[in-house]
């Protein structure tokens, strides 16, 4: 399988505190890695570093072998869509305006954008909320808006920080369905989760982080054994 994301010898530190310590892994095209670990293990920091929001101390991050975070950052960014744990919506934009901002940023055609907005808005049951500002929406609805934003473009890499956080049971099922569609069309996904049961049907591999280091990694089917072994120690 072709490698899509390559992270090698990644280190992140703020002053003397090491947040990520020598992280290396690869994510294949069309596959899914679940990042697991306790709170503060470094999952979100890793996501932010891959996004380019958090500065790294050293190491290399490359997408599709040619887009390097350090040497071609603007092109590199075009290959990623990110869903943060907490919605990052702007108070000044309505839900629809957020979708348009995403569409324009990923250079989507207006017709295609409208078609996708229609599809996802119906799936997430957000009809009638398109012209509302984020403050007028419930937390779950805001999360749905943020999720739709990232689902709109066709990008090779999706980064999802806690995918099902704040979504109701129907939305979770629908989101899972979309993710499977995306994976089938070749999108790779790196996600963080505390609910491994939920992503077991989607993820192929896991990476367990502890205090900024990779503790274990492997096939998702091996996870239970490793978890039990870790608990026994």
């Amino acid at each position: 399988m072709r490698k899509l994301l390559e992270v090698s010898n990644l280190n992140v530190a703020i002053n003397d505190t090491k947040l990520l310590n020598n992280i290396s892994f690869t994510l294949d095209k069309g596959s899914v890695i679940a990042l697991v670990g306790h709170n503060g293990a470094g999952k979100s920091t890793l996501m932010k570093t891959i996004m380019g929001i958090q500065d790294k101390t050293n190491g290399e991050i490359t997408i599709d072998g040619e887009f390097n975070l350090d040497t071609s950052f603007l092109d590199y960014k075009k290959n990623i869509a990110f869903i943060p744990e907490e919605p990052l919506l702007m108070s000044e934009l309505t839900a629809m305006q957020h979708f348009q901002l995403y569409g324009k940023s990923y250079q989507m055609e207006e017709m295609e954008l409208k078609k996708r907005i229609g599809k996802y808005v119906e799936g997430f049951e957000l009809q009638g909320k398109l012209n509302e500002y984020p403050e007028s929406l419930s937390k779950g609805m805001r999360q749905k808006v943020q999720t739709i934003c990232a689902m709109l473009p066709d990008v090779p890499l999706l980064l999802i920080d806690e995918p099902f956080m704040g979504l109701d049971i129907y939305a979770v099922d629908y989101f899972e369905e979309i993710l499977k569609e995306k994976i089938a069309s070749g999108t790779s996904i790196l996600l963080t989760t505390h609910q491994l049961k939920r992503v077991k049907n989607i993820a192929d591999q896991f990476i367990m982080l502890q205090e900024g280091k990779i503790l274990h990694k492997g096939q998702i089917s091996e996870f239970e054994t490793i978890k039990r072994r870790s608990e026994d120690l």
Binding site: I53, K78, M96, Q100, Y102, G103, Y106, E110, E135
Partner: protein
């Protein structure tokens, strides 16, 4: 719930906030300094203080200036009295003046009255301010030869205005933008009229009387129509925004802005016309609103600096203009870069070129306040060369902006900016402004720079194709 238990709850929040801030500052001090550095810094600081204020009798050298200040304080007492309340009206645009954060507000959801909590907050603020004025007043009396009675009168006056403007500022903060602007403009017009008619005493008495009457009327409706969301949003930011800590830890406490004066307009809710220009316009407006204080400070500061320098001498004002162009263009580039590191934009792909094009018109608008005194200066010193001089200013503004935006774009792409010929030309071109004082022919260089800029633009368009 009794007042004493409300006071206890309030005090618990205040003391814990104080402890938390102290702990953060302590951590900052620990990562920034070690004991040896602190010891050496104290010795150097002590030496500097002693050499300036004790051994050198530094203050005696400024005797004349102090006498001048004292005279101004006596002569312009009534004028200053009319100006001080304007500060609170101006502050009411962004600051409610009563520091009720979300923590204090949550006490109101427990069995405590938010009114009692608000009174505690206000009384604490007044007491702290009084103490601060006492310390500053004492220091000024000790260090300077200005009459002590005059200083105490002024500080007492400042404190009383602080007290009497608390309610007006609080209520004005809740009022609409247009009410604030109207009141702000009315006081300024009153002040200008008073100064022109040399009736500042009458005007200050009128303003004070209005303030007193407003206090009496508004005191009955202190807690009606209060926009608690906005109050707590801005106060949370004021309490927890610690610039030094943010710089040291490379993390920024951002104001969680949820309220926007334009949000209720139906036209703002309509979907965008699907173009970069329209979408970016809203993003820029939002970004400018977030940084409005800074923008006003920089543009206003440069405007004032040029105005004041025109009264000094011609060379100084030309140096001031050159520095203003450098500062303003650097500021635009910094605001531009910052747009990409805030909010949702940071997680999106960036069409930097398109953002650059859409900020251009705003950069020109911001340059207008700086151009106004320059144009007036040129008219006052009018010769036919003034036209060339103004052309030179505009061309230097364009090339400096172009160069700094190119660097900003390179930095956004994580590329290291290289010192280009264009950059050197742009920076040293500013020297031409000063040289125009000695030889107006220097303004002709602007034609050469103009042609250079045109060629650059043409090349860029060709590259884009």
């Amino acid at each position: 719930m009794s007042r004493s238990s409300s006071w206890y709850a309030y005090w618990l929040i205040r003391s814990n906030r104080f402890r938390k801030k102290r702990m953060i500052k302590k951590q900052l001090a620990q990562i920034s300094f070690d004991k040896t550095t602190i010891l050496y810094s104290l010795i150097v600081g002590g030496y500097v203080f002693a050499s300036i204020f004790i051994f050198n009798d530094f203050m005696r050298q400024f005797q004349d200036e102090f006498i001048f200040i004292e005279q101004q304080m006596e002569e312009r007492f009534w004028l200053i009295l009319t100006i001080v309340p304007i500060r609170y009206v101006f502050k009411s645009f962004r600051n409610p003046g009563v520091l009720i954060t979300s923590s204090e507000y949550q006490l109101g959801m427990l069995p405590h009255s938010i009114k009692s909590i608000a009174y505690f907050v206000v009384i604490e603020q007044w007491m702290k301010q009084l103490l601060l004025y006492l310390i500053i007043g004492t220091l000024i009396i000790l260090i300077t030869p200005i009459d002590a009675v005059l200083i105490w009168i002024y500080f007492l006056l400042f404190w009383m205005i602080e007290v009497f403007m608390t309610i007006p500022q609080w209520k004005l903060f809740q009022a609409s933008f247009f009410v604030k602007v109207s009141i702000f403009m009315s006081i300024i017009i009153l002040d200008i009229v008073g100064t022109l008619l040399q009736q500042t005493k009458v005007i200050s008495i009128i303003i004070l009387a209005i303030v007193m009457i407003t206090n009496i009327i508004l005191s009955k409706k202190l807690f009606s129509r209060v926009h608690w969301g906005r109050v707590t949003e801005i106060n949370d930011f004021l309490v927890w925004n610690m610039p030094l800590i943010s710089k040291a830890t490379k993390t920024k406490f951002r104001r969680e802005r949820k309220y926007n004066i334009f949000q209720n307009r139906a036209s703002r809710k309509r979907p965008f016309a699907y173009t970069d220009v329209v979408i970016h316009k809203r993003l820029w407006l939002q970004h400018f609103r977030e940084n409005i204080e800074l923008i006003i400070q920089v543009s206003g500061g440069l405007f004032l600096a040029i105005v004041i320098l025109t009264f000094v001498n011609d060379v100084i004002v030309l140096i001031g203009i050159a520095i203003s162009i450098h500062v303003y263009t650097s500021f635009v580039a910094s605001i531009f870069t910052n747009r990409f590191h805030t909010g949702i934009v940071q997680v999106l792909p960036w069409d930097v070129e398109s953002f650059r094009n859409t900020i251009k018109s705003w950069a020109w608008i911001g340059f207008v306040p700086i151009m106004i005194p320059i144009v007036i200066y040129s008219i006052v010193h009018f010769t036919w060369w003034s036209i060339g001089f103004l052309f030179l200013i505009l061309i230097l503004f364009i090339i400096n902006l172009m160069v700094k935006m190119e660097n900003a774009a390179a930095l956004l792409d994580k590329k290291l900016g290289q010192l280009t010929i264009k950059e050197i030309m742009a920076f040293f071109g500013l020297v031409l402004i000063v040289l125009c004082e000695y030889q107006p022919y220097f303004s002709l260089v602007s034609i050469g720079i103009f042609i250079f800029v045109l060629i650059q633009q043409k090349d860029k368009k060709r590259e884009a194709r």
